[in-house]
Amino acid sequence: MDSEERLSRLCAGDVRALEDCYREHGARVYRLCLQVLAQAADAEDATQEVFLRILDRARQFDGRSSFSTWLYRLTVNLCLHRVERSRTRRALPLPPASEDPMDGGPSPLELAARRDDAARALRLLARLPVDQRLALHLREVEGLAYREIADALEVPVGTVMSRISRAREGLSRLLRPGCLSRSVS
């Protein structure tokens, strides 16, 4: 099924077209939801909501951006709305110091690079402001160019550049030795 055919079938409410769309974009949407909402159950719920909304809103897709950018925008807006609704925009609670794998390591950055642990990465990224971690996520995890991120987040490219840089600075601070354990106490 090519993308045009799928879009027209989505507009007609075809569940098989939605399944095709899920196979292609489901993991991305889920990861983005998880990045914003930080809890697997919330991310699963939000992902369901996003795909149900696709059926309702496919007609609104005007082709000015790619379908995936449109879908990112839909996902981001839904997740941010949920964050605002539940007032969890504040930083998430820190993990207990005993769980901090950074303690006692030879070099925090080397350790972080070696331990490719999604849960741990998400836990740390969740400590950044949501607008910064969204920009960093779309760049590093989804591999979008700044222009595409700007379209998805509906902000200027300069803002994307600034948010990604600040996210990296924040992540760098979080990875300094003892940073997490100090914050806990």
Partner: protein, 164 residues
């Protein structure tokens, strides 16, 4: 230290970060500042490790049954309708409650004032929305607000039980 003190570092790091992502040309970097600022040099050196760390989130994936849960909520509309699927969720609960309410009102007769009036034999059918006036000015019949709440709840519970 004031914000002005940090401003050159902020700008330089934005350029470094964007350069790392291939978004700006190398010529845009302030090499003079980099030569004099160990913190910005450290930031530049840490970029690959920071990127690797952030990319760790790529390993996260949805549970295997997530599509089936979505599918269960997006059932196709019956043949002959507009073809739009129906999203199940809160709306289905509302629909069940409404069905229970209609059933209750039908049985008890309490809703007679709320239902569209039947066309009199051989007469002119009233406007289909005429019954709405009964909500505003109930005349004689029992208005919705007159239905005891516990009756409604029992009717809804009975319908839920039947559905199971």
């Amino acid at each position: 230290m004031t914000a002005d003190f940090f401003e050159p570092c902020t700008r330089v790091r934005e350029r470094l970060s964007a350069r790392f992502d291939g978004e700006v040309a190398a010529g845009g970097l302030d090499l003079e500042h980099l030569g004099a600022c160990p913190a910005c040099r450290e930031f530049a050196g840490s970029l690959p490790a920071l990127a690797a760390h952030a990319r760790g989130a790529r390993a996260a994936g949805p549970p295997a049954d997530l599509w089936s849960r979505i599918e269960a909520r997006a059932v196709p509309a019956p043949a002959g309708s507009s073809g739009r699927p129906v999203a199940h969720g809160v709306s289905s609960g509302v629909a069940r409650a409404a069905a229970a309410l209609v059933g209750f009102l039908g049985v008890s007769g309490a809703g007679s004032a709320l239902l569209p009036p039947r066309a009199p034999a051989g007469g002119v059918r009233p406007h289909p929305l005429a019954f709405l006036s009964a909500l505003a000015e109930p005349a004689g019949g029992a208005p919705l607000r007159g239905v005891p709440e516990d009756h409604l709840l029992r009717a809804i519970a009975a319908r839920e039980e039947t559905d199971r």
